[in-house]
């Protein structure tokens, strides 16, 4: 056997191993994606109800006054960045972080003008390496995040806002468009600006103890819920991105294997031909 052949054989083997792995990861991502989409659906009723009650209060009471609804002069901006803990998801984290850095550079002159709340190991490492100050971080979120997991960082960001440490809060995350496309997005969640005075049911409620107190309790909850649904959406995007990336990797591996196999067969044939011609030459020389 020629030396080249053995090497080719070895690289076929190793490519096959890689392909097996990427294939498995693709399938895992696909099933997780399904689960995450279900979770997103299951979290809808809570958020919808909360919003409904808040808009009810807003519609029912005149001149509601709450710091979360009022626009302040912007001195410092908070960014809650949602990235993943693991890579192998194509450009998922890179695209998001590029957008973030771009926004920061465009909008702010000095690092004092923003505060960063970071979720996910990838984002944290990236920002830390580049010397950005991170106010709060959260890593090791499970693949199916629970509300309690997310609450700590959401609470930290929202409290900063309440205490006046920041004057607005943006969520920076990957919006899930479909399984093969995700878009890095930023969304302002504080001050709450959604049209709360929109349509509301005709029911008149009693508020205990009173409307303002109820509102003061519900608004932070609503903001937390917004963060939670963004986290779920980001997770769905992550799995979508990983699925696509791993699908491509498997496809590339298949291509590589077939071209290596061709090379291998050529080398094998060349070796056989050579052997035959050696034998024939030997026989001719004897006669």
């Amino acid at each position: 056997m020629a030396k080249g052949m053995r090497e080719i054989k070895r690289s076929i083997k190793s490519t096959q191993n890689t392909k097996q792995m990427t294939k498995a990861m693709e399938m895992i991502a696909a099933s997780r994606l399904k689960k995450t989409q279900d979770a997103a659906l299951a979290s809808r009723p809570y958020a919808d109800k909360l919003k409904e009650v808040i808009s009810n209060i807003a519609a029912g009471t005149k001149d509601i006054d709450h710091p979360m609804l009022e626009q302040r002069e912007i001195k410092r901006t908070g960014y809650l960045v949602i990235t993943s803990d693991r890579g192998m998801a194509g450009g998922y984290n890179a695209n998001l972080l590029r957008k973030l850095v771009q926004t920061l550079n465009e909008r702010h002159q000095s690092p004092d003008e923003y505060a960063l709340f970071v979720m996910g190991r990838k984002g944290r490492d990236f920002l830390r390496k580049r010397g950005y100050a991170i106010q709060e971080e959260l890593v090791g979120i499970s693949d199916s995040p629970q509300f309690a997991d997310v609450k700590s960082i959401a609470y930290a960001a929202i409290r900063q806002y309440e205490e006046g440490g920041i004057d607005e809060l943006y969520l920076v995350y990957s919006q899930f468009i479909n399984a093969i496309s995700q878009k890095p997005t930023e969304k302002r969640i504080l001050p709450l600006q959604e049209d709360m005075s929109g349509e509301s049911s005709t029911t008149e409620y009693e508020y205990e103890p009173n409307a303002a107190t109820v509102l003061a309790i519900l608004l932070p909850k609503y903001a937390e819920t917004l963060v939670y649904s963004a986290v779920i959406e980001a997770k769905a995007s992550e799995f979508g991105a990983r699925m696509t990336a791993m699908g491509n990797a498997s496809k590339n591996a298949t291509k590589l294997i077939s071209s290596l196999t061709l090379q291998y067969n050529r080398a094998r044939q060349a070796a056989i031909t050579q052997e035959i011609s050696e034998i024939v030459a030997g026989a001719n020389a004897q006669s």
Partner: protein, 132 residues
């Protein structure tokens, strides 16, 4: 006897949705008993049990960080977490009770309010699981 629909919803899922006779909850202003045809009302809830009476039997659900919306024929409780007694992890609740107590004992820069809330949650869970 008339009944009304009770729904308990957490951010993760809907954990309860059945016709019941009466519920007793801990509102921020004190205990509230809700019967069918109650006046529409919204009230935040304390960390505590929700007692559900349904055709003669009584059920308990541990609710934390919730509020309640009452309508004529339907009551919705939204909570950050809600658990049936059988779902409560007693070991975990005990551990978090101890942790919270320790934190309250040597208050440093630690957030007192958070420790208190976590203690309340743990006590609530333990109480409910011991009752059933």
């Amino acid at each position: 006897m008339s009944t009304f629909l009770l729904e308990i919803v957490t951010p993760e899922r809907k954990i309860y949705g059945e016709e019941v006779d009466m519920i007793v909850v801990k509102g921020v202003e004190g205990e509230l008993g809700i019967l069918p045809n109650h006046i529409p009302m919204v009230s935040p809830l304390k960390i505590g049990p929700v007692r559900i009476k349904k055709s003669g039997s009584e059920e308990l659900i541990a609710v934390n960080g919730g509020f309640m919306e009452v309508r004529k024929s339907k009551v919705v409780i939204l909570a950050e977490s809600a658990e049936f007694p059988s779902d409560i992890d007693i070991e975990r609740a005990r551990a978090s009770k101890e942790r919270a107590e320790n934190r309250l004992k040597n208050i440093g820069d630690y957030d007192i309010k958070r420790a208190q809330l976590s203690l309340q949650r743990a006590l609530n869970r333990l109480e409910i699981s011991s009752k059933s």
